[in-house]
Symmetry: C2
Subunit: 286 residues, 2 copies
């Protein structure tokens, strides 16, 4: 093989990919780029990558570039890397992104002369933690990885990236970017917003009731867990997927309102039927 | 010791108590009462209790009665059991409840001549599953157990029930019933409502987008987990704690609205500050 993979952004996703791609032999050498000096030296000390290099060096030396930075910067960076490919006259190098939103990045690159060398993916894995310290082996095992608009990429490039995700034990799913963004608004983005809102609600109350968290149950921890998620990652996701997220939020607020009304009206039958309906989620989640 | 404990309602909580109270030697004999024939025979087959008996037999034979039925029925049942104590002229028997709401049950029993023989508790443990099949050993270990208005119970009765929860490895917290209901609205009841609403939102969408759940992330499962919770248990909790729950829901809906507005207005600074504020939950939850 002898493949060199360059990972730009050594956070939870980039760092975890680095660990498994090398350990499992997909990459012979893993280069890392990390803007934050503290994170860069941590990544080197932990041994996430073989070498922390500059952005320019990484593009020059890596066969596959993984852009694993927050989605706002990722759009600009993938375009810049494709520009560099063009300048270098290379047809062999591949760049991929791992963004949680796909429409803008696919739109921005659509007409690029080197579009075929870009494979847009979303490995559906993560935790509420971030930074190189959050990176872990086996993070991706058994989870789904979306390939968005893969018909715009060179078949050979897609094949290589399929092999990359196969090394991470992910199952590929193919869909268009627009469809992806609608779906993730429903099964990921809204969960984060509801957790943030829950944390805000309870923290407000905590101001005057100091011991409120003595009572926090396991259920509360589970629903509020995502509220630990990082603003640098989530502000651009919610902004880029604004329209879908707003639509889901509206449905959600409407559901909360029917619940509120039923409770307010002592309408036990209505509360019961809402809960029974919600219980249908059992068939779907585990 | 030679204590006989009678557990009325062999679901998740009653069944799990039965397992550990006998196994750990607090009870020499555990009697069970279960209205649903299927559950009753399951409880006997699994060996949750030594014997499934009638409600009357249980009251006659047990030294400590644990009322572990949904909160609506629990209020009536505890009153009825105190009536029986009075008729029997016993001063030794104790009845406890394990309800998630405390105000109504404490109010209903407040003037009962045998009030001192009632200890009102809320062991803060559970899962989203219900019925005797959901019962498990060690469910309560390390969690908090609330004693509500314990100054209305006989000190000797409180001491016995403290020993009971000590056998379950729970740490006791003492508070008044009103305060309890406010706190649980914030750190437990609202989590259930937000999960129900999330499930309803996503299930609505699923009607026209069949494959939406292929994308469900671990984060989604975690926030929606409580939506599997049982209506028989949750309708009466939300009804009994109506005023507190409505107040928390109002704050919550307001937080969702500020989020919505910030996203709608492309106000990234506001979204960032809401997320940063929500992140303070880190200090509190693990």
């Amino acid at each position: 093989m002898g493949r060199t993979v360059g990972i730009i952004g050594l956070g939870l996703i980039g760092g975890s990919m680095a660990i498994d791609l090398r350990r499992r032999g997909f990459a012979e050498r893993v280069l890392g780029v990390e803007r934050e000096p503290v994170n860069a030296s941590a990544a080197e000390k932990i041994g996430l990558v073989d070498e922390v290099v500059s952005y320019d060096d990484c593009i020059a030396r890596a066969d596959i570039l993984v852009v694993a930075v927050p989605v706002g910067s990722a759009v600009r960076m993938v375009c810049d890397i494709l520009d560099r490919f063009q300048e270098m006259g290379t047809k062999e190098k591949i760049v991929i992104d791992v963004c949680s939103t796909k429409e803008q990045i696919c739109l921005a690159t659509h007409y690029h002369p080197c579009r075929a060398q870009f494979v847009s993916t979303h490995p559906m894995a993560g935790t509420e933690y971030s930074g190189p310290w959050a990176a872990m082996p086996n993070l991706f095992d058994g989870r789904a990885c979306i390939f968005a608009n893969s018909e715009e990429s060179a078949p050979k490039a897609v094949k290589t990236i399929e092999a990359l995700y196969d090394a991470l034990n992910m199952r590929p799913l193919y869909m268009n970017a627009t469809q992806h963004d609608v779906h993730t608004a429903y099964v990921s983005h809204i969960s984060h917003v509801t957790s943030f809102a829950l944390a805000l609600t309870v923290l407000d109350k905590e101001r005057d009731e100091k011991h409120i968290f003595d009572l926090a149950s396991g259920g509360f921890s589970s629903t509020v867990r995502l509220a630990k998620s990082n603003a640098d990652m989530w502000v651009p996701i919610l902004t880029q997927n604004r329209e879908n997220v707003l639509q889901v939020m509206d449905t959600y607020i409407e559901k909360m309102r029917s619940f509120r009304e039923a409770i307010d009206n002592f309408d036990e039958d209505k509360v019961r039927s809402l809960i029974n309906e919600a219980n249908r989620i059992k068939k779907i989640i585990r």
